[in-house]
């Protein structure tokens, strides 16, 4: 059980405002780490710093002990780090299957083989399997933009898993998803974690979702780590209760 991700002393300021103020944590192989905290505590900014969307003002990010700070999102993704966004991010004009093929096509072959090779990059079968796994089978050929919100959310998650990533960062996967689909989603995430050994980091506001899914929870407040531990430990921590009720 090695550390997949090691984040040390990340700082990020916008103008004068310190959004992230010295956050360090590690993620072990195969675990599901939850990150919670009140609005504006710097969760999303932290994600964006880890994933190369933003350049941290200070600090470093290591993947399997290798320095990846400031690496571009596409490069990181091809190293096996995948993500979803807080807001829905599917390609509305492409079909469900095309969305998934896109999510996988850059992970195999070269630019030349992607030009001269097969149109689906040999990924149709894999895409359909993934679609089936996320229970979107009846919608394979539908335009992603025409799906319901919950279905798009599932597709969004499916895209993050298409290339078989080692580490997946999910930004509020449960936001806006109804109860039935929430159960589905949780079940899918658990299955992928168990079967493929993928490691997860999940930002979430839905406490029930986090507490029942995650093996370990990190609490952020005002850009810093406030507490860390198992779901039960965190729930009982008076500082955490204070931070949430104080807001």
């Amino acid at each position: 059980m090695g550390q997949v991700l090691e984040v040390s002393n990340i700082h990020k300021a916008f103008g004068g405002i310190k959004a992230v103020n010295g956050v360090s944590f590690g993620v072990n192989e195969g675990e599901i780490l939850g990150i919670i905290g009140p609005n504006g505590c710097g969760k999303s900014t932290l994600f964006n710093c880890i994933l190369g969307q933003l350049e941290p003002s200070e600090g470093s990010v290591k993947l399997d002990g290798k320095e990846v700070t400031g690496m571009r999102p596409s490069e990181l993704n091809r190293l096996g780090v995948s993500r979803t966004f807080q807001l829905l991010q599917v390609f509305p004009e492409l079909s469900v299957r095309e969305n998934l093929i896109l999510a996988g096509q850059e992970h195999e072959g070269t630019m030349l083989s992607r030009f001269f090779g097969r149109r689906d990059a040999g990924l149709s079968e894999k895409a359909d399997k993934m679609i089936g796994f996320f229970k979107l089978g009846h919608l394979v050929d539908a335009k992603a933009g025409g799906l319901s919100y919950g279905q798009q959310k599932l597709l969004d998650a499916a895209m993050a898993f298409m290339a078989g990533p080692r580490l997946v960062l999910l930004d509020e996967p449960a936001g806006g998803v109804n109860l039935t689909m929430l159960g589905d989603l949780k079940e899918r995430l658990r299955a992928i974690n168990a079967e493929q050994g993928a490691t997860f980091v999940v930002i979430e506001h839905n406490m029930d979702f986090v507490m029942s899914l995650c093996t370990r929870v990190l609490v952020l407040a005002e850009g810093k780590v406030l507490a860390e531990g198992s779901p039960a430990e965190v729930r009982a921590n008076p500082q955490v209760i204070e931070a949430y009720l104080g807001h």
Binding site: N48, E55, F85
Partner: protein, 292 residues
């Protein structure tokens, strides 16, 4: 040295014109995400309309000016916003930008067909004489342009900074969503920026046309330089547009005098490319973070 001062004054004068156009460009961009590729034609057309009104109605100059200017502000201030921007913006920024290109073609060709393909004299409101200051001969027209343009920009700054209406407009430019929550009539404020843009174009047109004459193709260079001025100064800053405009004007004037008359256009273009390479957020702009 005397020569240099004369070129400098001339540069500041044309720069002030570019600044007027660039400020309007920036205002419209801020409040409605409209990149107006017809901005140069906006400066070209008022002078043409004034002359057209004089020609068509046989009106005296003051009446012609009034008709031409009123028609322009109505059509290309309010009309532009209501007939082009509003129905188009829902399709996104790109179709709207292309629509303004179409508009620029319509304005240019329209001016050519309805008015004249040749340059026409435009009456000047100051004598076309030069005065001698410290051995440099300075055109009174240039001095007048600088005075009027700066007065107008000063007035605009005062309006935006010190009046209730102006502050509401500024709030709308900075964050329409919050402005709406605060009860500011956002739609009306956006319309107001379009009217101000048209008014600034009128001022620029009336100031520059006695020197450049009124011609359908005048907008090409003015538009290009206003564009460059806005980017060089910092794409979303009125202050930046002013600095950018003056800088482009001075660089242009000095380049024409000391480098090459046939490549005078190229120097501001190179300035643009250098700025994009070294300080892409513009001289006065603040760095924008990559956002998700």
């Amino acid at each position: 040295m005397a020569e240099f001062i004369a070129y400098l004054i001339a540069g500041i004068a044309t720069g002030a014109i570019y600044a007027l156009a660039a400020i309007g460009f920036t205002l419209v961009w801020q409040t409605s995400q409209t990149i107006n590729f017809a901005q140069g034609e906006f400066v070209m057309l008022p002078a043409v309309l004034v002359l057209l009104a004089i020609k068509l109605f046989g009106a005296p100059i003051w009446l012609g000016a009034l008709i031409g200017i009123a028609a322009f502000i109505l059509i290309f201030g309010a009309g532009f916003k209501l007939a082009v921007v509003d129905p188009m913006i829902r399709h996104g920024v790109l179709p709207l930008a292309i629509a303004t290109m179409a508009l620029s073609i319509i304005m240019k060709e329209g001016a050519k067909d309805a008015f004249s393909a040749e340059a026409q004299n435009f009456p000047s409101f100051v004598p076309t004489e030069t005065i001698s200051v410290l051995g440099a001969s300075i055109s009174l027209q240039h001095v007048a342009i600088i005075i009027v343009a700066f007065a107008v920009i000063g007035l605009l700054q005062w309006f935006v900074g010190s009046t209730r209406l102006g502050r509401q407009m500024q709030a709308t430019a900075q964050n329409p969503t919050v402005a709406r929550i605060l009860g500011i009539p956002v739609e009306r404020m956006v319309l107001l920026t379009f009217v101000i843009n048209a008014a600034l174009a009128v001022v620029a047109s009336v100031l520059i046309s006695p020197i450049y004459l009124a011609k359908f193709s005048n907008g090409e260079v003015i538009g290009l330089f206003a564009f460059i001025a806005a980017i060089v100064g910092g794409f979303n800053q009125v202050r930046g547009a002013l600095v950018g405009g003056l800088l482009v004007g001075i660089v242009d004037s000095l380049a024409a005098a000391y480098i090459s008359a046939s490549y005078r256009l190229a120097v501001p273009l190179i300035l643009l490319v250098v700025i994009i390479l070294l300080k892409p957020e513009g001289l006065m702009g603040r760095k924008e973070e990559r956002r998700v």
